[in-house]
C-alpha cells in the first residue's frame, strides 16, 4: 500500500461544539508532516478519526487509500501513539507489547525487535507504572512500530520530554521518514517541530489554516522584513519611521523594519548619519509564523475538555 494519509472534508462535532470542520490534507511518504494547532484545535480528534476510533460526521480519512477499519492487518498499515500513558501500570512493558502483537496477529519476534529499536532494553521487564515519561514515550513508539507500518502517527510525542528525549525522537522521526514512510506528528508548540518537519498542516478551531512546506511558511512569515543592529536605536527608529516604514524594537540593540527594502534603509541611515553595526534579512522563527497564523484561532482549554482528556 502507498504510505499516505488522506483526509478529505472531515467533520466532527460533539454536541454543539464543532471539533473538526471540513478538514482536508495529505501526509505523503518520505516526509515528516507536522500537524500543528493550539490545544483544542482538533488534532487528536482528527487522529482518532483517521484510525476509525471516532466516527466522523462527514468526510473521509484514508490510510494508504483505504479506511483504517477495512485494513486486513491494521498494525501493519498504520502505527500510532495517541497517548503514551495508555498502558496498564501493573503490566510489564514486554507483556504490553506481547498482547498487542497477539491482537494484531503479528509474529512474536517483533516484540524483541521493537524493544531493541527503541532502546527499551532492560526496562522491558519492568512494570510500566514505574516508567518515567521518556520511557513511556519509548514504549508507546515501540507499540506503534510493532507492525513495521509504512504510515506512522504520533500525538504530541515530545510533549514534556527533556532535551535529550526531544533530540532522540526528532532523529527517529527523520530516519523513519527517510525510509519512505509517511510520518504525521502533532504538536501544539511549533518550536518542537523546528528542524524536524518537512511539511506543516496548521489547524485552528478544527479548520485548516495552512498546508505548506516549512520553507514557504517561513518565507511568508518573514515578509521582507529587515533587522537592523544599532546602538542608536532611537535615531534609527525616528529616521525610518519618517520614511514610512513600520519599525519595531526587538531587543536592546535591534529593530525590525517592514515596508522598505534593505537598500533604501542603508541609504536613509547613512544619509541621516545614524550609526548601525549590521543589517540583515529577518528570518522569522517557526513560532513567530505560527503565532501569526493562529492568533485568532486560539481557544481556551476549558471550552475543549475533550482534547485535554
Amino acid at each position: 500500500m502507498e504510505a499516505t494519509i488522506e483526509v478529505r472534508g472531515l467533520r466532527k462535532r460533539y454536541g454543539a461544539a464543532v471539533a473538526v470542520d471540513d478538514l482536508s490534507f495529505t501526509a505523503g511518504p518520505g516526509q515528516v508532516t507536522g500537524f500543528v494547532g493550539p490545544n483544542g484545535a482538533g488534532k487528536s480528534t482528527t487522529m482518532r478519526m483517521i484510525m476509525g476510533l471516532d466516527r466522523p460526521d462527514g468526510g473521509t480519512a484514508l490510510v494508504g487509500g483505504k479506511p483504517y477499519r477495512s485494513l486486513r492487518t491494521p498494525l501493519c498499515g498504520l502505527g500510532a501513539m495517541l497517548d503514551a500513558s495508555a498502558v496498564h501500570p501493573a503490566r510489564r512493558a514486554r507483556d504490553h507489547l506481547r498482547w498487542l502483537a497477539h491482537a494484531g496477529g503479528l509474529p512474536a519476534r517483533r516484540v524483541d525487535e521493537v524493544i531493541e529499536l527503541t532502546g527499551l532494553g532492560g526496562a522491558a521487564r519492568r512494570r510500566a507504572g514505574g516508567f518515567s515519561l521518556g520511557m513511556r514515550q519509548r514504549l508507546g513508539i515501540a507499540a506503534a512500530l510493532l507492525g513495521d507500518p509504512p504510515v506512522l502517527m504520533f500525538d504530541e510525542p515530545v510533549n514534556g520530554l527533556d532535551p535529550e528525549g526531544i533530540t532522540w525522537i526528532r532523529g527517529l522521526l527523520r530516519s523513519l521518514a527517510a525510509e519512505g514512510r509517511a510520518v504525521l506528528v502533532s504538536s501544539h508548540l511549533m518550536s518542537e517541530l523546528e528542524g524536524g518537519a518537512d511539511r506543516l498542516v496548521v489547524i485552528g478551531r478544527g479548520r485548516l489554516i495552512a498546508d505548506t512546506s516549512v520553507g514557504d511558511l517561513l518565507k511568508a512569515a518573514s515578509r521582507g522584513r529587515v533587522e537592523v543592529r544599532t546602538t542608536a536605536r532611537q535615531d534609527v527608529m525616528t529616521v525610518l519611521a519618517r520614511a514610512g516604514a513600520t519599525v519595531t524594537a526587538t531587543g536592546g540593540d535591534a529593530v525590525t523594519v517592514a515596508g522598505i527594502p534593505s537598500e533604501q534603509i542603508i541609504a536613509l541611515l547613512t544619509q541621516a548619519g545614524a550609526a548601525f553595526s549590521g543589517i540583515a534579512e529577518h528570518r522569522a522563527s517557526l513560532e513567530e509564523a505560527y503565532m501569526e497564523l493562529t492568533g485568532d484561532a486560539v481557544e481556551f482549554r476549558a471550552v475543549t475538555g475533550r482534547e485535554a482528556r
Partner: protein, 484 residues
Amino acid sequence: MTAPDPTTAPSYRSSVQADARGGFGGLLRAEWTKLRTVPRWPLALLASAALTVLVALLSAAGSESTASGDGPADPGRLQIIDLGHFTYLPLAGDGSIVARVTSQRDGGAWAKAGLMIRESTRRGAPYAALMVTPGHGVRLQTGYESGGAGGGTAALPHWLKLTRSGTAVTGYDSADGRTWRRVGSVRLEGLPRQAPAGMFVAVPDTVEVRRQFGGETVSGRPGATRAMFDHVSVSSSQPGASWRDRGGAGGPAADPGADGRAEAGGTFTLKGMGDIGPNRFADDITRTTLTGVLIGQAAIIALAVLFVTAEYRRGMLRTTFAASPRRGRVLAAKAIVAALAALAAGLAGAFGSVLLAGPVLRSHGMSPPSLADEAVLRAVLGTAALPAVIAVFSLAVAVIVRRSAPAITVVLLVLLVPQIAATGLPLPAARWLERLTPAAGFAIQRTVTRFDQAISPWAGFGVLCGYTAAALAAAAWLIRKRDA
C-alpha cells in the same frame, strides 16, 4: 529545507505484513495475555476459589448434628417425611384393595386420604399410594415425591382401587364403584410377597414464615386431617390377619386425639398428622456447603469489571481497537477469556468446597450426600458455572457503564440484594424477586425441593443466562456505536 515530492518518493513496505495473521485465535491470546500479566487479576481468581472453599469449611465446622452415635438422625436433616396414619393388612401375593372415601376433613388442598401398598411399615420404605385430595383430585404417588399421576377434581364419595401384580402397582378410581378409570402405575422393585396394604391419611405441615431483614423464622406446625372409608375389601389377605396400625411419630408432641382409627359397621375413620412425601424443611447440605460462591463471586465481579474499565480509564481500549477494529470480536474474545478463567476458579471452588467440607461434616455427625447423586453433581457443576456466567454479565455491564465503581455496584446489587431483601419481604413478593432478578441463577445450587423454593434450578440458571445475554447484546451494540 525543501520537501521531497510525495508523488515520486518511494513508499515504505511493511516487512511484517507477510507474516501477519488476522484471526480470532490471536484475539483470545491477546486477552489471555492481558488477564495474566496484571498480577492482581490471577490473584483475584485464586482468591475467589479460596474464599468459596473457606466459607464451605467454616460452615461445615460450625455445623453440628443433634444426632449422636447410632441414634436416629435428626428428622430435620432427613430429605423425606413418612408420617400420617396407616391402617393395613398383609396382602398375600398379587391382589388388590378397594375402598370408598366418603368424607375428608381438614388439612387443606393437599390433605391425603386413600390406599397404600408398601415394602414394609419401616419409615422411608418404598410405597405406592393412591389418594383423593381436596384440591388436586386423585393422585398416585411414590418415592416420597410430590405431585404424582392424576389430577383434576374428585367429588366425594369416591372409589379407589390399588392392585398389585408382581412388582407393578396400579391405581384406579371410580365415582360409582363399577366403571373404573386407570390413574397410573408404578414399579416397586423388591416388593415382598406379603406386602402391607391398607388405608392411610396424611397431611402436609402448615408453614408459618416470619421474615425480617437478615433472617427468617420458619415454623412448620404439623397439620391434622381425618377421613372416612367404607366398602373396604382386600383380596386377598392372609387368613386370620387383622387390621393393624402405624401411627404418627411418638413423643411428647403426639396428640392422641389427632391420631388413630375408629371402626363401626364397616366404616373406618382414620385420623392422622404429618405427611408422606418430601421434607420441605429438609436441610440442603450441598447448597449450604456451596454458599461460599456468594462471597467468592465478589472477586470475580471486580476482576471482570476491571478487565474492561481499566482499558476505558487509560485509553488503552483505543490501542486494542487499533489492533483489531472489529469491536464485536474483541468483546467476544474478552467475554470468552473472562468466562473460562472464572469457570476454572469456579470448578476449583465448587469441587474444593464439596470435597474438603465432606470429611469435616462427617466428623460432625452429618451425612453430606455424595457427588454421585445427580442433583448434587448438578449443583456442584452449576456452582462452578455461576462465576463464569457472572463474569460475562459483569463484563457486559462494565462495557455499558464504562466506570468501575458503578459497574461493580450494579452487579453486586442485582445479584445480592434480591437475596437479602427477600428475607424482609412478604413471602410471595420475595418469591417473585428471586424469580425475576439475575439472583435466580443461584437456584442451580438447590438439591432439595423446599418450601421456600422460588424457581426450579435450571429455570433459575436460565434467568441469569438470559440477563447475561441481554446485557452482552446491549454491550455489543454500544461498543460498536460509540466513539472509542
